[in-house]
């Protein structure tokens, strides 16, 4: 038998197994979508894997440019992914993120968080000292409207609800905060410098505006306005800054793994925290739209909401709601 005839015969024999490949594909698809938990069928997927590996090796040699080989490659990849990574369920994936991803990410971020908080506090103190000593510098940090309002003895937040409805205000605020927070994180891509700049600038602005408001006797009113939403909002700013700094450090000091690998590892470790930040900012935005500007709500109640929401944030980040389940598992 000539080589060509032999190869042709082998190829024919190989292609006769196509129905088996199609069955293997269907089985892998059922498992990957979580539509089957049958142990016997799972064992067959493992058998499929071996069969496909064998047939693919032959197809690569005998039919390198055929669609049969292409098809086998795709089925083999699907079965490989199913066996090695299990099924993919959106609910379970999000739950795993909440139970494991966010607490683990927070543990890793602790030193970065300490640095981010220190930077933010120092910048705020610097901004406060600067405007307290040189009030005219407020023009660098605040808009002319804000300055005029405070100089006339009124906070710019007074009567806010007469101009913009709470729901509109909330959505505008939470959208803006989420974008700023995500941007603070993504700016870590510039070796962490972008993150440090955004964190420092925000701290500086907060301190400067506070100093200016205090000089005009409106410090308590601003604190009352901020307390309900600010505890979480400012914490989230520091958190996303910490995550951005971690990404920046991975790029600046990648170690032996290489820059892209270090960047990827840092980004994947910090990603869950960012998701938590976005979710927390939705709540903070709603509070800022509905609670903070409402003069009918007592300051003590605003403090309770602010502290309560901050504790919820701590619980979420530390994984307290799922701690017992994690311990059991």
């Amino acid at each position: 038998m000539s080589t060509a005839a032999r190869e042709s015969a082998l190829a024919h024999a190989l292609l006769k197994r196509a129905p088996l490949w199609q069955e293997a594909e269907a089985r892998a698809r059922r498992f990957s979508r979580g539509r089957s938990d049958d142990a016997a069928a799972a064992a067959r997927v493992a058998d499929d894997y071996r069969l496909l590996a064998h047939d693919l090796a032959r197809a690569r040699a005998l039919l390198p440019r055929s669609r049969a080989r292409e098809y086998l490659e795709s089925v083999y990849a699907a079965v490989h992914a199913t066996l090695n990574h299990g099924d993919w369920r959106l609910g379970a994936t999000l739950l795993r993120l909440l139970r494991v991803g966010i607490p683990a990410s927070m543990d890793w971020l602790r030193p970065y968080l300490a640095w981010a908080v220190a930077l933010f506090v120092l910048a705020a103190a610097a901004g406060y000292a600067l405007v307290d000593r040189f009030p005219e510098l407020i023009a660098l940090f605040a808009s002319p409207d804000l300055i005029a309002s405070v100089e006339s003895g009124k906070l710019w937040t007074e009567g806010l609800l007469n101009i913009v409805p709470s729901s509109v205000l909330s959505v505008q605020i939470l959208t803006n905060n989420i974008v700023v927070s995500l941007f603070a994180y993504c700016s870590g891509f510039l070796f962490g410098l972008g993150t440090l700049y955004i964190l420092g600038l925000n701290g500086l602005m907060l301190g400067a505006v506070f100093a200016f408001v205090v000089r005009h006797g409106l410090g308590a009113a601003l604190a009352t306005f901020i307390v309900a939403h600010g505890c979480v909002e400012l914490s989230v700013m520091c958190l996303s800054g910490a995550a951005g700094a971690a990404v920046g450090e991975a790029l600046a000091r990648p170690g032996s793994a290489g820059r892209i690998a270090a960047f990827r590892a840092a980004a994947l470790r910090t990603g869950p925290v960012l998701l938590a930040c976005a979710a927390l900012l939705v709540g903070a935005g709603l509070i800022e739209g509905f609670v903070s500007p409402d003069p009918a709500i007592a300051p003590a109640f605003k403090v309770a909401i602010g502290v309560g929401y901050w504790l919820v944030m701590l619980a979420l980040l530390a994984g307290w709601p799922t701690r017992r389940q994690r311990a059991n598992s």
């Binding site: 190829a11 129905p19 669609r67 490989h80 992914a81 990574h85 994947l268």
Partner: protein, 252 residues
């Protein structure tokens, strides 16, 4: 695992690597442009329909103009959903479709992790968060430059999330080929079976004279008489090709 210019190779326990063809800048751009049009049309359609209904119910006739004052209902019913459709399209659909979107489906690509699996929720969200950087300074400039320059054609979001865009091979296109060839012991040889399958797959893309000529040549290889083929029109040739694969044991 490793990647060459065109393929992502993943080690496997069997010793046979899994290879996934990496999508280049063209396929990525095609997918993005398709998705962009879909989300734009969806957002505009929502805005238009909701605005018309909103203004009509308020007795202001058929108009899409926003009300003069900031109205919470307008914001909640008309504007917010339209913006959400536009801005949350990618993260929500990628989560729901395991790394794919309608545009990616159209371009035949999907996002996978570097070990060939569907990315997790964290990776998919991260991939989308970094669109903020990839879209700088305008029109995804940085993202395009990175895709063009990197070996695996990845943008910043993919680097962060550890994902790669790979081509999805369609199993439908294969339905004729192997089975036709598998049963080809009598009627069709392997090469002819593959060619017949190719021709049937490309039938709509070819001009009528070209596909008729190719069909006659292939059917002649299948043993049909030249005189008989000469009298067949294009539709009859197409039927004859399908019958040839069926006779050889295909599963059309």
């Amino acid at each position: 695992m490793s990647g060459t210019a065109q393929h992502l190779s993943v080690d496997s326990a069997t010793g046979i690597d899994v290879t996934l063809p990496i999508a280049g800048i063209g396929a990525r751009s095609y997918a993005f442009v398709a998705d962009w049009h879909i989300r734009l049309v969806l957002g505009l359609a929502w805005y238009g329909a909701a605005a018309l209904l909103y203004n009509y119910l308020r007795g202001e006739g058929l108009s899409v103009a926003p009300p003069g004052a900031n109205e919470a209902r307008w914001f909640g019913i008309v504007l917010s959903p339209a913006l959400a459709l536009y801005f949350l399209y990618h993260p929500v659909l990628e989560l729901a479709m395991r790394g794919s979107t309608p545009g990616k489906r159209l371009a035949g690509v999907r996002a996978v992790t570097r070990d060939g699996a569907a990315p997790g929720a964290g990776a998919l969200l991260l991939r989308n968060v970094f669109r903020l950087i990839d879209s700088l300074p305008v029109a995804y400039g940085l993202g395009l430059v990175l895709v063009a320059l990197t070996r695996e054609h990845v943008r910043c979001g993919d680097m962060a999330a550890g994902t790669v865009l790979v081509y999805e091979r369609s199993s439908l296109a294969f339905a004729f080929a192997p089975a036709g060839a598998a049963g080809a012991a009598g009627a069709l040889d392997l090469a002819t079976a593959e060619l017949v399958a190719e021709l049937l797959a490309r039938w709509p893309l070819l001009t009528p004279p070209a596909r008729a000529a190719l069909a006659r040549r292939l059917l002649a290889r299948c043993g049909r008489a030249a005189a008989e083929l000469g009298s067949l029109d294009e539709a009859a040739l197409h039927r004859a090709l399908i019958e040839a694969t069926r006779a050889a044991g295909a599963a059309p």
